[in-house]
Amino acid sequence: MLEEESPTSFYRIAYFHKLVQEKSLSEINERIRDGSARVVTAEEMPDIVDELGPAGAVREVDVVTTGTFGAMCSSGVFLNLGHSDPPIKISKALLNRVEAYGGIAAVDLFLGATQPSEDRGNEYGGAHVMEDLISGKQIEVEAFGAGTDCYPQMELETSLRLEDFNQAMMVNPRNAYQRYNAATNSSDRSMHTYMGTLLPRFGNIHYCGAGILSPLSNDPNYDYIGVGTRIFLAGAQGYVMGSGTQHNPQNHFGTLMVTGDMKKMNNRFLRAATFHKYGPSLYLGIGIPIPILNERLARSTAVRDKDITVPVMDYGIARRDRPSLKMVSYEDLKSGMVEINGKEILTSSLSSFYMAREVARTLKEQVEKGEFLLSSAVEPLSRLGSSRPMKQTKESPNVGDVMSRDMVSVCEDIDIKEAASLIVSGLFDHLPVVSRDGRLTGIITAWDISKAVASGKSSRIGDIMTRRVYCVKSDEPIELAARTFDTHSISAMPVVDRDNKVIGMITSNHLSRLLARRR
């Protein structure tokens, strides 16, 4: 595959192909204008290339339309409200009680898609304000001013519709991922993530991205898509501003920064969403028509689902570097079932292939009707990107740095009296229960003991202990311990090493002491 080439050989080949290029962009635009262009979607292209070969496909096809429709969290809109009388320099603004950033001049605001509202929380957010505006609804604006000599107004309220804004320019820092990691969950509880509900113990796999229809996967060498490329953005004609944030072309995870006029968008292709316990997000339809200028583009637009692979990541591990369990293709994912470690796991998507098709087909119609012309890039997309982890200069401590090593653990066969006296003389009201070789098997609390004494049923620890114990590893960050305390309403946990041997205890007191010291 050409995808694997180094940047230098890419330019050599691109240059070479320029010499043998079989069609020019202006020729294709000419045909689009007079209605004679042959347009197909990226789903139809692979069969055409199989049948006619790349050279035949160049002769036969002028434009291949792509499309994707999915959650694009990194999206937002610049809104200009016009000046009030007396004028106001807005420092904070609420649009339907969703905060928009006001630190740009006097009446420019930036509303981000994932910003939750102050009154309805995650159920309504920035994305919902955008959908309401595009649907013609009126929104309530509350603005708070800085109060300066030139902008004396301190506060105002008004009701606006989309047409009342001078400009509503969508500017999305990171959209249209070339491909995206699939997600599953090894832990023993359901997780609610931006990848949807992930059932416990590998109960399902969720994936995103349109595969065969994905814009960047159809032009992985960025031969056509570049700065200034005209695109379909939620029904409007928008543009690629450049590569997006976290653009990582070396690993085929390219992204786009895009812009478009919100006033021309269609609410069929822009839908506000809420991911349970994660927050608001925006489903967006993006399509890019790719001109078949040469065989190289004919070949790259012939990509199939089976050629595009992604790792399945374990979201059960709440760390940045989640373990990858297996490489799978979009064909595997779309089949509805993927096997991991001998277990068949149901897969389903979270982006909509149905709507991605609608984007590609709508775009195809627009090109056929001469309504959508192709544009050559002013600059290629960056072939090198950066998606490095955050440099964290204030490293937070690990569990091992704050836990107590001074603790006792017990075996299952001691009796309640003994356990009770250990709790009374020890530091914690939790006793980890371990097997002969020190591995964690359960936990016992002062409450368990009182219950057992009151009911008088059993006097063996093994019978009354809780076997489902939450624990942390000593090399995990304390934030993870804090989150576990919070989600399960517990106040202490055993700390284990890689072999599940108990080496300490961590309590919510350790965490509060640490916080107090930091202040």
Binding site: F69, G70, A71, E123, H192, G196, T197, L199, G203, N204, I205, H206, R271, A273, T274, F275, H276, S281, Y283, G336, L346, T347, S348, S349, L350, S351, S352, F353, Y354, M355, R357
Partner: protein, 128 residues
């Protein structure tokens, strides 16, 4: 067909299902039961031909019975056919058909998992 039983506080500790099975000889399957100290909600699958008899038997025992004809409904204007509801439903109510998500709502036992999983908030349980 599926029946939703609303069991009132006073009788929640009685062996209601067992006695109805003995009385009606119906092959009853308990699909879901959530019972706490004060009340209970139970979803049963019963053969169609026995359903009237089973409903009567429960009602005589003071249980409110609602047949679940269309337990879950979808707002077609909101659904984008993403598939967020497909693999998480315990009874396989949703499936892809040429990339449209179609629902066989008769399979639903009203567990509620899809209601929060749907990013478009397109799904609702029908509670009568």
């Amino acid at each position: 067909m599926k029946l939703m039983l609303h069991v009132a506080p006073g009788i929640v500790r009685q062996p209601l299902i067992a006695s109805v099975i003995l009385e009606t000889n119906a092959l009853v399957n308990i699909e879901r039961a959530s019972i706490d100290a004060v009340s209970g909600e139970i979803v049963l699958e019963v053969p169609v031909e026995k359903s009237q008899e089973v409903m009567d038997a429960f009602e005589r025992r003071g249980v409110k019975v609602v047949p679940l004809e269309n337990p879950v409904i979808r707002d077609e204007n909101e659904c984008v056919h993403c598939g967020g509801c497909v693999s998480i439903c315990p009874t396989g109510t949703f499936r892809f058909e040429d990339w449209r998500v179609v629902a066989d709502s008769g399979k639903c036992i009203q567990c509620g998992a899809c209601i929060v999983a749907c990013p478009q908030r397109a799904l609702n349980l029908v509670t009568k």
